[in-house]
Symmetry: C2
Subunit: 239 residues, 2 copies
DNA sequence: TAGTGGTCTAGACCACTAC
DNA sequence: TAGTGGTCTAGACCACTAC
C-alpha cells in the first residue's frame, strides 16, 4: 500500500495547516514553488490541492493564489455523526464503548418496498435485523437493517453483537461506494419508548439510508433512530 | 463563459446515461476510445469521469472498466432539501411558490456565541432576521438568520420578502465557498406553534448552518425549523 | 507586466483483471 | 498476454489579478 506522490504532498500540506505553519487566512506558496520543494510536477501539486480544497482546508483563486481557510467551527460533539459517516458506529466511537443488543434477527423474502430499496427481485432473501446499539451501556440507536443474504453470507449473532461493518470490510473484503441518506424528525413510537427510553412526546431523529458497494450493488437499507437529545447529524458541504 | 473540454465531455456522457444510451450496470467505452471520439486527451476524459463518479453516476474499477451505476432511488419528495442545497429556498422551489413574512429585522452587536459562529469581533454589527417562509402560502420554514452587516450592505425589507440569496449572488456578486450543517430533532416551542402551526407535541426538524464565501469569510449563521411532517433533509455521500 | 491557478496535451510506466 | 484505469511528467496556452 504505497502512498502516491499527490497523497504525500496533500498529507504534508494538511499537516502544515493543522500545526499552524500555514496559518488561517494566509497565502500558501504557489504551485510551482511547491512542485520544486516536493520534487514533483505542478499537476501533482494541483491534484493534492484539489483534494484539500474538497476537504475544506484551502480555497484557490485563479490569478491570486491559494489561501488557508479559517477552521470551520467544527464543534462536533463526540456523539454527532460526521458528514461522511459510512463506517458504522463501532468505528466512529471505538470498539470498547459500543455494544449491541439483538432484538430480532430474521431472514425472509423482501416485500415490494425492500425490493425497490435494495434493487432485488422477490426471490432473493434478505436479512431483517433489529439491534439496539448502546454507548457505554446507555441505549443510543435503534437500528433496523435489511441486507441481501447473497451479498453477506455467513452472518451470525456473534457478528451482530459486534460490528457488521468490520465483518463486511475485513472478512468479506467488500468496499463501500456511497450512501443516500434522508434525515427526518419523527414521533416516538412505543418501540422507541421501550428501547431508547424515550418519553411519550420526545422527538426522534431518524436517519434512513441506502448504502451501496463500489461495484454498484446495494448492500443495505436501514433506519437508525435516536432520541432527539442524544445525537445530531452533521454535514460539511464544500462549494 | 466558455465550457471547458472536460465539462463538454462530462455533460455528454451524463446525457447518455440519463437517456439510457449507456444503460445502468453496463460498461461504458474505455478512456482511450472516449478520448478518440471526443478528440481530447485521455487525461481530459479522466477528469470528466472523475466528476461523474463524484456525482454518483458511474464507478470506475482499475483493470476492469467504467460502469454506469443504477440510479439511486432518489425518490426525493419535492419539498426535501437536496444534498448540496446552499442556494436558498427560493431557488430550490421556484420564485412563484415561495413568499416570506418578516417577523423581525434588527441590527446589533453580536453576542459571544454569534461572534464565534461568524468569526467576528464584538464591534462588528450583525443583522438579526427572523422570517417565516411560506410555500404556496402554507407556513413552511421558520428561519432565524445572522449576517455581518459589512458583508451585506444595503439589505432592505423588500429584499427580505424575496430571496436574500439572489441579492447576495446577483447584486453583491458574492460566491459561496461552503456550509457546515447540523441537523437536529427538537421539541416545538411556542414560537413554532404560533408560526408553523405546529401542535404542542409535534417534533421539529432543525437545520443549523454556518455558510462561508469563497474568500473564506463567514456570511451567515442560521437556524431553519420545520414541522416534522413537512420536510426531510437528504444527503448523497459518495465514497 | 509578472505572477497566479485552470486547462490541456502526448506520452510514459504502473497494478490489476480476465483470458 | 492484452486491456483497463491510476499516476506522473514537462511543457504549453489561457484568463485573471495586482501593480
Amino acid at each position: 500500500m504505497e502512498k502516491t506522490r499527490y497523497q504525500f504532498v496533500a498529507d504534508e500540506i494538511r499537516r502544515r495547516i493543522v500545526t499552524g505553519k500555514y496559518p488561517a487566512k494566509s497565502l500558501i506558496p504557489d504551485q510551482n514553488t511547491l512542485a520544486e520543494e516536493f520534487h514533483v510536477s505542478r499537476m501533482t501539486v494541483k491534484k493534492a490541492l484539489d483534494g484539500l480544497a474538497r476537504e475544506g482546508f484551502i480555497y484557490k483563486q485563479s490569478g491570486l493564489g491559494t489561501y488557508v481557510l479559517g477552521i470551520v467551527p467544527l464543534q462536533t460533539i463526540s456523539r454527532d455523526s460526521p458528514a461522511g459517516a459510512i463506517d458504522g458506529l463501532t468505528k466512529q466511537l471505538g470498539e470498547d464503548r459500543v455494544t449491541s443488543d439483538i432484538i430480532s434477527f430474521d431472514v425472509g423474502f423482501p416485500n415490494a418496498d425492500i425490493q425497490k430499496k435494495l434493487d432485488l427481485t422477490v426471490n432473493r432473501p434478505v436479512y431483517d435485523i433489529i439491534r439496539l446499539r448502546r454507548v457505554e451501556n446507555d441505549p443510543f440507536i435503534l437500528e433496523h437493517t435489511y441486507m441481501p443474504v447473497e451479498l453477506v453470507p455467513g452472518l451470525t449473532e456473534n457478528i451482530l453483537k459486534g460490528s457488521i461493518y468490520s465483518y463486511l470490510h475485513h472478512s468479506l473484503n467488500l468496499k463501500f461506494g456511497g450512501a443516500y441518506r434522508k434525515i427526518h424528525a419523527s414521533l416516538a413510537t412505543p418501540f422507541d419508548m421501550k428501547y431508547l427510553e424515550a418519553g411519550e412526546h420526545d422527538p426522534i431523529l431518524e436517519v434512513e439510508e441506502i448504502v451501496w458497494l463500489n461495484n454498484g450493488k446495494n448492500i443495505e437499507y436501514s433506519t437508525a433512530r435516536n432520541r432527539y437529545d442524544t445525537r445530531s447529524y452533521t454535514v460539511l458541504d464544500i462549494r
